[in-house]
Structure formats: C-alpha cells, structure tokens
C-alpha cells in the first residue's frame, strides 16, 4: 500500500480541529474519503478547510496543531 501526503496550499497556521473545543478532524486509523476535511489553515485571518484528494486510512498528522506552516508543507500522511 502506498502512502500519500496532503500538503498545505498556503502558508499560515494549521489547525487539526474545527475549533478548540471540538475533536480533531481525523485520528490515526480513521478512514478518509476524497473531499474529507483533514484540517484548517488560517492565512491572514481567514480559515481555509484542507480537503483530502485521496481515499485511504490516516497514518498520522505530520504537522502539529497550531503550528506555523509553509505552502507545500506536508500536513497529514494517508495510506491509500
């Protein structure tokens, strides 16, 4: 099975959950469908949902919650 990384299209701050009181979008072992939101990137005060373009199973997040990210940085690893 191949693994794929979903990268941030934007620089900003990465969030693994929709709001601080909510559970994370995905956990290790969760199933991911194409179009599933795996996190948010906050860039210039606007929140951009990051959707998966592959289907598979979550291996792990590659960026911590609330970490600064560069455009092109890997956010999550998914096993197809």
């Amino acid at each position: 099975m191949a693994t794929r990384e979903i990268v941030s299209p934007l620089p900003g701050v990465f969030y693994q959950r929709p709001s601080p009181d909510d559970p994370v979008y995905k956990s290790e072992g969760d199933t991911v469908a194409v179009g599933d939101v795996i996190g948010l990137v906050e860039v210039m005060k606007s929140f951009h949902p990051i959707a998966s373009d592959v289907a598979g199973t979550v291996v792990r997040y590659l960026t911590d919650n609330e970490d600064a990210v560069m455009a092109g940085q890997a956010l999550i690893e998914i096993e197809e």
Binding site: L10, S19, E42, M44
Partner: protein, 454 residues
C-alpha cells in the same frame, strides 16, 4: 501628559500611531512578534521589543509579555490600535493596575459597550433604536441552535467580543448553522481571545452608516458619519464620508442619537456608533459601538480636519476635548479603499509574499496610510491589509475621479492586491450614483468577475 507610548499593534495602524506620537513629541516603543521584525513600524519606532512568536495569541495577545516590555521601557501609556487588545477590558484593567494609561475608554466602558449585548441595552436606555436577536451571549452550541430556530432564518452569528466584521456569518438554515457556528467561534477565539457568540436577526437591504465620536469622559462631540456599505463577507472594502444617502434631518437625528449614547456611558476616547440605515423608510437601527479607533478613521479626518489619533492620545493624557460641536464642519468628500494582499480574480484568496517594488500615488488630496516598502515580506499570520488609499476632493464626483487617478499612479509589485477591484468599482454606475447597500458588492462581484484581472 504622556511622554512615552507603547504601541500594542502592528501594520499600518502602528505606523499611523507612531506618526501621531512623534508630532506630539512622544517617544514610541513598538512591540512585535518574531514575524514582524522587519516591519515598517519596528523600523520607525524609537525602540522595538520582541514579545513572542508569529501566532498573535502568543505575541500581540500576550498580556504578560506586553506589560513586561512596557515596564522595562518605563512607558506611561499603551495604544492598542484596532483588533488585538483594543476592545479587551481585562487587558485595559491590567494596564491600569500596572500604573499605566490605556489610550481608549475604561475597562468598564469596554466591558459594557464591547459586549454587544450590554451595548444594545445601553442603546435602548439612551433612546436609540436596536435590532431583535438573542437576549444575551450564547453559552453552548445546543442553546445557540435553539435560539437560532426561535429568531428565524436568516440569522447573523456574531462574536460577542467582536467588531470589524470578524467572526460574523449569515446562515440560511439549521444545517448551515451547524457547519458555520463552530468556525465563527474559532475565528472569534483566534482574533479576540473569546469565542463567545450572539445572534441577531439578519436585516436585508440596508446601508451601513456609522458616526465617529470623541469623548473626554463627560462631554462628547461627533465628526459626522461615514458610509461603509461596500462590503464583502461583512468586511468593509470602500468607505466614505459623508454618506450621500442621508437627508440633513436624518443626519442630525442620527448624530444626536450617537452623542446621547456616547455621553450616557461617559465615554472617553475615539469611538464609533454603527447603524443600519434603510433609505426606503428613512429608519436607522443601532448595531454596535466600536470602542476603538477604526480602520476607516481617515475619511472623517479628511472631511473635518481633525487628527483622531492625536486627539485620542491627548484625551488619554488627561486633556479635555479641544472643541465644541459647532467648531466641527464638514468640508468636501473623502473616500478610502483598502489595499489588501488578496487576489480579486481568485475569490479574494489571501496572497502573502514579498513586495519587489512600490510606487505610491501623490498630488493634491491623496493620502496613503501603509506599511509596505520594497523587499518587505508580508507575513501570513495577520490580516491582509497593506495600506489604505484615501482621497479628498470638493465633491463626491470629483473624489471618485481623484481616486481613479491615484489608483492609476499606484503600483505594488510582487504580490496581487485589491487595486483592480477599486479601479473597476470607481467606474460602476451604481457606485457613481451611490445606489448601493451592504449586499450590493457581493452581487456585483458575481456579475463582474472578468473585470477583476489585473
């Protein structure tokens, strides 16, 4: 008297405050995050102090680090600008407890007027008309859903600690409410350090008209109104003064209502009373009071000749209002457009990057309040505002022509900006005739997407 002022903000407003302070002979201390070490405000200030990492919650919203910097450099006062701590009563109390002056109203005034629910109560008591909605701040999402159902859709979700349009969403049904309310709360928490929400009935066609006020704690004056109806996703993009929609009688009533509320709460400093105005009925309703300086303050400065940042600092230093209402006269017309690092052709996608070249407009009646210079890298962590182009002329028609001329002279290379939006808007017949409301721009954007290529 204030001798040394700390600026607890960044970007163009920090630069604006440094300029006002310098003209008053006041020393400036600029706090900044690691991401803003190369900012213009840091270069211009007498002293710069790093207070934390890029994320605002850890730097510009870090009370301990900011107060530490203030004490270390023995400042007398802290100017909050807009956003960040500008409407945070606990921060104000902490500043005062530390023996310094907060440039703005008291913590108690901010608590009352900054909490939109209590503000509505104050407005009602001052005889100012208000909008129906939730009786107070919503505790949890279950309660919020129930109140949304009762108020009836469409409903506006607003941040209790908010202002400036951040964290405000209009939702059409309960499914959309479930999706958007948590995001609204997250945005509010990120922007203001408080995720509390309240709900208000959404009012369809109306104009956004707001009155600029200045108070010294006892007496208040107004600097007439601004109209900010051109908005996208509830963010103002083009503001002007005066409003062309108001009759002389409505203007007088509206400004008098604003003064009643300002004096009723013994307001000290610069503030704005926001209203929705319906041209059909001639009715206006209070929406909120912003207890801070606003982004669009320059248009009021240009039509009245009063420097609002200077007056804020003087009032904070203990002076009384320097003028009577009769001394404040409107002359001509002013327009401000927000030059944001966003791509209008790609649904206003934020566009952080490095500025390779800047050519700013000049000549009569043109002002640019900005923070950009060649080689400046725009950090992705804060808002997208690069600067504000403000023009003044003897009439609105002439001001629009002057705006077009100034936009033509302006070039910002290396990043995409909203310049092309304003060049197109300045030629739009509805903008030229003033036939707009707060929903007009979004409709126009859908119809004119191809005019927005640079």
């Amino acid at each position: 008297m204030i001798k040394k002022l700390l600026i607890a903000n960044r970007g163009e407003i920090a630069v604006r405050i440094i300029r006002a302070a310098r003209e008053l002979g006041i020393e400036t201390v600029q706090v900044h995050s690691t991401a803003d070490a190369d900012s213009l405000a840091v270069k211009m200030a007498d002293v710069a102090v790093e207070v934390g990492p890029p994320q605002a919650a850890k730097s510009y919203l870090n009370t301990e680090a900011i107060l530490h910097a203030a004490k270390e450099h023995s400042v007398d006062a802290i100017h909050p600008g807009y956003g960040f701590f500008s409407e945070n009563a606990d921060f104000v109390d902490a500043v005062v407890d530390a023996g310094m002056v907060f440039v703005g109203p008291s913590g108690d005034t901010i608590r009352r007027m900054g909490d939109k629910v209590a503000a509505r109560q104050a407005a009602m008591e001052a005889g100012v008309p208000t909008v129906p909605g939730s009786a107070g701040r919503i505790g949890d999402m279950e309660e919020a859903r129930e109140i949304a159902r009762q108020t009836g859709f469409p409903v506006m979700i607003k941040a209790a600690a908010g202002g400036g349009g951040r964290g405000i969403r209009v939702v059409e049904n309960i499914e959309q409410f479930d999706r958007e309310a948590p995001q609204a709360s997250a945005e509010a928490l990120a922007a203001f350090g408080d995720g509390g929400l309240y709900l208000e009935r959404f009012i369809g066609r109306s104009r956004h008209v707001e009155v600029q006020v200045l108070g010294d704690g006892e007496r208040a004056v107004h600097l007439y109104e601004r109209e900010c109806s051109l908005q996208r996703r509830r963010q103002k993009v083009w503001e002007e003064a005066p409003s062309t929609a108001l009759s002389a009688q409505v203007r007088e009533d509206l400004c008098a209502a604003a003064i009643r509320l300002t004096e009723a709460v013994q307001y000290r400093g610069a503030g704005t009373i926001e209203f929705l105005y319906d041209d059909q009925s001639g009715e206006y309703v209070f929406i909120e009071m912003n207890t801070r300086i606003q982004v669009e303050h320059p248009v009021s400065e240009l039509i009245t000749g009063i420097d609002l940042i200077r007056e804020m600092i003087l009032i904070a230093g203990g002076e009384r209002l320097a003028f009577e209402q009769k001394d404040i006269q409107v002359r001509g017309h002013a327009i401000e457009v927000r030059i944001n690092a966003e791509d209008p052709a790609k649904d206003f996608m934020p566009f952080p990057g490095t500025i390779t070249g800047v050519s700013l407009p000049g000549g009569p009646g043109v002002r640019f309040d900005g923070m950009i210079y060649p080689g400046y890298s725009i950090p992705p962590f804060y808002d997208s505002l690069l600067g504000k182009l403000i023009v003044w002329d003897s009439s609105r028609e002439r001001a629009i022509e002057r705006l077009k001329r100034a936009l033509g002279e302006m070039s910002i290379e290396g990043v995409t900006t909203t310049r092309s939006l304003f060049a197109a808007l300045a030629d739009a017949p509805d903008v030229r005739s003033g036939a707009v409301d707060t929903r007009w721009l979004e409709g126009w954007l859908e119809d004119n997407a191809d005019h927005l290529w640079q």
